[in-house]
Each structure stands twice: as C-alpha cells, then as structure tokens.
C-alpha cells in the first residue's frame, strides 16, 4: 500500500518517540516541560491522523495545555522556594543520590518484559476488528445528538463521565487541602505585551470555547474541550492579574465546582421512573438535557481547571494583593 502520508506518519512517529526520550533526558527541568508540551501537541497531531479529532482536541487543550501550565507553575514555585528564581539549573533541594547500576538494570529488564508483553498483545490482537461502532450507530437515533463520541460520553456511557467530573471535583478539594497555609510564589511579572495579548485573545478564546461546546452535538468538540479552552481564560486572567482571587469568592467558587456534578447527577436520577432506568434520558428531551448537562459541566470544568492552576485556596490570611495593572 503506497500511502502518500506514509512518510509523514513515519516522521511524526519518530519525532514523538524522540521527544519522549528528550523530555526525560534533558537536565534542565524547564526545557523538559517545554519538550513535553511539544510532545503532547505532536501526539495530538498523530491522533488527528488516526481520525480521532475529539481526542486530539482534548489532549491538546487538557493533556498538554492545562498540564503544561500546571507543571510550569510548580517549577516556578519550587525555584522560588529554593531562592533560585531566574537560574537555569533547578534541581531538587536534596541532592539526588546516584541510583546503583544493578537497580537500573533490574528496572530496565522488568520494563522490557512489560513492554514485550504489551507489544505481543498488541500485534497479536485482530487488527481493525469489529468494535462497538455498529452498536453505537444503531443506537444513535435514541441519543439525541448526531456526533457519536458525544453520544457515548453523555448518553451511552454517561456514568463514566459523571465519575470523571467527580474525580475533577475530588482533585480540587485535595489541592485546596494540600496547599492550605502554603506560602505563595509571587506571580511572574509579565510585561506590557502580555496585557495586550490577553486583551486581544480573551474574547477570541471565549468565542472558541463556546463554539466547541455548541458544536459538540454534531461535530468534534464538547464539554471537556470547551471547558479546557475556557479555563485558559481563567489562566490568562490570573496570570495577567486582571483577576485576583479573594476570600470572599470562595463560596462562589465552591458552587461553581459542584454545579456540573450536581446537575448531572440530579438529571440522571430524575429521568428514572416510569419504566426508565437512571441515566436513560427520554429520547425526545435527550438533546436539551445533554446540552444543559454539557453547558453546566463546561462551567464547572473551566472553573475547576483554573482553580487547580491557581492552587492555593484564597484564604483570609492573604494579605495585601499587589495589583499589577495600577
């Protein structure tokens, strides 16, 4: 088979593997994170090639974008705490002890065995065998939407999706608890260009995020991708200091965190009865119910991801806030 894309596939695959190796082998942690972000974006590109645009969007926005921001924030915090802000070499406080060679070899051997097993399982599996696509296609008329991935996420397997939102909620609770009383690294000073950039891009991001949500019922997109894009608004606002979290906003934030989970669970329970099971939306209302759930879940995801980035709960101890734009 002479596919014109074969060369592209091979180059992209080698680039992804090389970036994975480079991510773990460069000395400087900042470079490591940047390489990881490039790795994630190229992986998303590979998933577009495998006709999985929804997954690629989610990986680019959440797996790479938000995760990259979280990693950079953590690195900034670590460098601030050790007083090495602005230095290139950020190593951990305790000097790393060299791992004995036998341990490395044993690890490598075990990893090799696991990988071998995985490779055997993968290559022995029937290629392109029938999966669930026929089942999903048959059930599409009942789902209320026309995009199969959205139908699976929000109708056929909505229990998974509810649990996923719960995991996100649990994460933000855990982060607020862990960071309690932790000193905060000052936000990096951002120049004039940054403010202009934020001002220009914010409206565009809001439009893109809302479009992704709205389009999700018929085309790639949906609550998670849209939530991540809207979380970028929160990140920009936090970084440019246009929004400074205050203790008084805690109540509102908590409501925003549970909004998606609460409404999702309530709808799932309320549709039960009259011969229907929990999560079994009546076909005539399925579209509006899915849109309602998606809209509110998007708000929760966006606020939660932005809160995960901010980390610390805005407690009353927070003393004077330095506003940058004054």
């Amino acid at each position: 088979m002479n596919d014109p894309f074969l060369l592209f596939d091979l180059l992209l695959a080698s680039a992804v593997i090389a970036l994975a190796v480079a991510t773990l082998s460069v000395r400087d942690l900042f470079a490591s994170i940047v390489l990881f972000v490039i790795f994630g974006l190229l992986s998303a590109l590979a998933w577009v090639r495998l006709s999985a645009p929804d997954v690629a969007l989610a990986e680019a926005a959440i797996g790479t974008g938000v995760t990259g921001a979280l990693l950079l924030k953590t690195l900034h915090h670590m460098r601030f705490v050790t007083g090495r802000l602005g230095q290139d070499a950020a190593e951990s406080v305790t000097p790393a002890q060299p791992v004995p060679a036998p341990v490395i070899w044993a690890n490598a051997a075990l990893c090799g065995l696991i990988t071998l097993g995985l490779a055997m399982a993968f290559f022995a599996a029937p290629q392109a065998g029938p999966g669930f696509e026929a089942l999903v296609t048959d059930a599409m008329p009942e789902s209320g939407v026309t995009h199969p991935v959205t139908a699976v996420l929000l109708n056929f397997r909505s229990y998974d999706t509810l649990m996923e939102v719960v995991v996100l909620l649990a994460a933000v609770i855990a982060v607020w608890q862990i960071e309690r009383g932790l000193s905060e690294a000052p936000a990096p000073a951002l120049g004039e260009i940054w403010h202009g950039f934020a001002r220009l891009t914010l409206p565009a991001i809001v439009v893109v995020g809302t479009y992704l949500l709205w389009k999700g019922s018929e085309a790639p997109g949906g609550a998670f991708q849209s939530g991540a894009v809207l979380a970028a608004v929160g990140l920009l606002l936090l970084l440019s200091r246009n929004y400074v979290p205050r203790p008084a906003h805690r109540g509102l934030a908590r409501w925003a965190f549970v909004l998606g989970t609460g409404v999702f669970a309530a709808i799932a329970l309320l549709v039960a009865g009259g011969g229907r099971e929990v999560f079994e939306y009546p076909a005539e209302h399925a579209y509006s119910l899915i849109l309602l759930i998606e809209g509110l879940v998007t708000i929760s995801i966006a606020v939660t991801l932005a809160a995960l980035f901010h980390g610390r709960e805005p407690v009353a101890l927070a003393i004077e806030e330095k506003r940058h734009d004054t």
Binding site: F5, A13, T23, A58, I62, T74, V93, L118, T161, F224
Partner: protein, 96 residues
Amino acid sequence: MTPDLIYGATGIAVFAIGLIGALCAQDRLRRVLALKLCSVGAGFILVVGAWRIPPADPDPVPHALVITGIVVMVSATAVALALIRRLHTLEAEDDD
C-alpha cells in the same frame, strides 16, 4: 505499513520510555512527567484500536475512554504537583 501499526508501535515505545523514566527518574517533577508519558502511550494504543481503514468511521467508544482518561490524568497530575510543591516547601524550610 499502515498508520495503525506505525502509531501502535509509537504508543508502545512511549509507554516503555515513560515506565523506565517513572522508575529511574531522580526528581519528582520528572517522575510525574514520565507517568504522563505512560498515559499518552496508553492513549495511543486505544486510539489505534479504534482506528478503521478510511472511509470507515472509527469506533467512538475508545475515543470516549481516552477523553475520560485525559481528564482523570490532569486531576491526578494536579494533586501530585500540589503534593510536590508542599513537600518541596517543607524540605526547603528544614534546610534553613
């Protein structure tokens, strides 16, 4: 050589690199990065499993599973990073 074989092998390789990294990496941030690599490798294999030779449509169920996995992974990463920040601060205070 079809895309599913190429990217399937890529996924396995990325998973292996992440696994070795998670076991051998010295500092914590790098270990989290290594686990992230593992998750992307697993995502590759699921997405490859869902792929069908065009013009056939891919299987949407693994796609939904990977999207769920990505969101769960960002939650886990956020908690891990918060723990790292906390530990790092405690260690830095001990040093003073």
